[in-house]
Symmetry: C2
């Protein structure tokens, strides 16, 4: 359990095995290990140490005459103690900065770009959770006429989120009713959080107090609720799901591949898993995950907008992944997003370059 169980040499051997296995995907044997990493020790000695490591649960054996493979426990140790998380060279950093800068005025595109970068640079499947809005407060509700029996519901929240949805009415409306409806709803829900509004008994308040609106309300309220729900549901953007085909652990095994893709297709489930992870950089390996991801690893990190923790991004792939590199990439990207969307006060250095001095506006 305790890494202190392992003497220096065991640690060194374990690290070498993990490094070799991560880069090749093949079980590593004592002989080849003693060749590739010159550690002044014979294969036989390595075998003895390996045998110990296996007994301690750090290594496993696919079959008698195969080399050793790191266990989830070994990866855990590696991630906690051994790996190098500063594996990004300047070129990689530059690439990330450039791509994220391209769209630095718009959160949505930035986030899409982040997902692309993430899957490109790790060669894994990446995902980004769009900003969460649980506690965002409603600002106003508006109905726009479209045609004789269609209106658009528009919900605007204080944090700038706008959500809209076309609604077909079962009975005609009047302009006045529509405006009244907008006013009443805005009045009722302004400043309240989405979840608070959803908990209210909305239909009733209309049938009781505002009879002239009750027919319109009957059409509109269900859509209103659904739209609120949609605002709550964090939107998951994914990228690079076909990357797994280039990984040996999948390319031989159709069933595994299918399982993986089916798992990804269940976005709700995946969103759930991601939402419920710890803050900060979190790495879960193999059986630390739930059953259906028990031979996958998940690495996630948060990003902030205006200093507030709003979203999460990460990758999913086989337990054999380049933890060091991947973690560095994720960290760098999430930090970069957070910085880009820092409060204005804190980053007037770079931003002002674009601004050629003709500023007239002033709040």
């Amino acid at each position: 359990m305790n890494p202190n169980d392992l003497n220096e040499r065991k640690l060194q051997i374990l690290q070498a095995i993990i490094a070799d296995f991560i880069s090749t995907g093949e079980p590593v044997g004592s002989r080849s290990l003693s060749k590739s990493h010159d550690m002044g020790i014979s294969p036989a000695t390595i075998r003895n140490e390996m045998s110990d490591l296996e007994e301690m649960g750090y290594l496993t054996h696919p079959h008698t005459s195969a080399g050793r493979v790191p266990s989830d426990k070994a990866y855990r140790l590696y991630v906690d103690e051994l790996m190098d998380t500063s594996q990004l060279d300047e070129a990689d950093k530059q690439k990330i900065r450039t791509k994220l800068m391209e769209s630095r005025n718009e959160l949505d595109s930035t986030i899409e770009h982040a997902a692309e970068l993430l899957s490109d640079m790790t060669n894994l499947t990446s995902f980004v959770l769009m900003p969460r809005k649980d506690e965002s407060k409603l600002k106003y509700i508006n109905f726009l006429p479209v045609d004789s029996n269609t209106v658009v519901l528009m919900i605007v929240a204080e944090d700038g989120q706008v959500m809209n949805r076309a609604i077909r009415l079962t009975s005609p409306y009047t302009e006045e009713n529509l405006q009244l409806m907008s006013k009443v709803m805005t009045h009722n829900y302004m400043g309240k959080s989405i979840s608070a509004v959803m908990a209210m008994d909305i239909i009733d308040s209309f049938t009781n107090d505002m009879e002239s609106l009750s027919s319109l309300a009957a059409d509109v309220v269900p859509s209103f609720l659904k739209t609120l729900e949609k605002m709550l549901n964090a939107d998951l953007v994914m990228n690079g799901y076909s990357n797994i085909f280039s990984l040996p652990e999948f390319s031989g095994d159709m069933q595994k591949t299918q399982q993986f893709l089916r798992m990804l297709e269940d976005k709700n489930r995946l969103t759930d898993v991601i939402v419920n992870r710890d803050k900060g950089v979190m790495i879960t390996i193999g059986d630390e995950n739930s059953e259906d991801m028990k031979d996958l690893s998940l690495i996630t990190a948060d990003y902030r907008v205006n200093g507030e923790l709003v979203g999460r991004l990460g990758v999913i792939g086989p337990t054999r992944m380049k933890y060091g590199k991947v973690t560095s990439v994720i960290k760098y990207i999430s930090d970069n997003i957070s910085q880009t969307f820092e409060l204005k006060e804190n980053n007037d250095i770079k931003e002002e370059i674009e601004n050629d001095g003709s500023t007239e506006a002033d709040s």
Copy 2:
């Protein structure tokens, strides 16, 4: 070429081969054919006919001692002349109607449901193109303040489409400037189509005429253009991409599967292909498609909203698919969407059921 080249018996045999192959996926031989379809003819005779059919290009041979497989030309003949497009039983129809009814007030969810239905019932990968907006005209443009350096741009079109996007400004704004900007832009672009606005020289008009807005404009206009572009880009919803794993043509062949999934991952390309298809139900088989889809078939159909052709839906899968069934499903779904979103005047029969008479509103 001409199906009239084929006498009654050849047609019958061809149809039988296609039917068998579609349902099993195995090359069909003369002997097994004479067993399964009793057509009072010996295997030897069938062999002779098959040989003729092969010479005419309707059948191929994976190798000497395998059975026959229909060619793309055979499928084309089958689709044009032989297949039965009324293969939906009442249960299927019911299922479609029910699911689409669930969300009949909201176009967006209806369309998502349509994609789900389509992939479920065909066991293929389905896609639905959201309503197209090339010619929709702008109604107004609005900017909502969010925080000291973020605003939300909101574009509303006459057809009820609303698009919004958060913009971070490089310099502060004033409420007045924001409102002025909304007014000016609304005034300039109201009633113009999206494509027309995109063709205009927007930045210039601000730097010349409205100096006080030029700094704000510099921040806002690029995002405005990007947003318009996004409104133009038809949004593609896909479903059931992992269905292909259950098909024998893929489940043996990793490379083919990978190719298929990579093709699906390039949404822009796929959208392009779908947008450029003919109106109505269109079936393209194998090499009738572009190179990268040359052993796939594509079936698409349009749906209308308020009588206007707005979107398209369909499936993609191996050339061996149940053309009759699939076509029936697609047709039924697209008709159903179109009906559900018919102009109110034409479908007051069903709709009124939900409406319990307390209608007060009246246009």
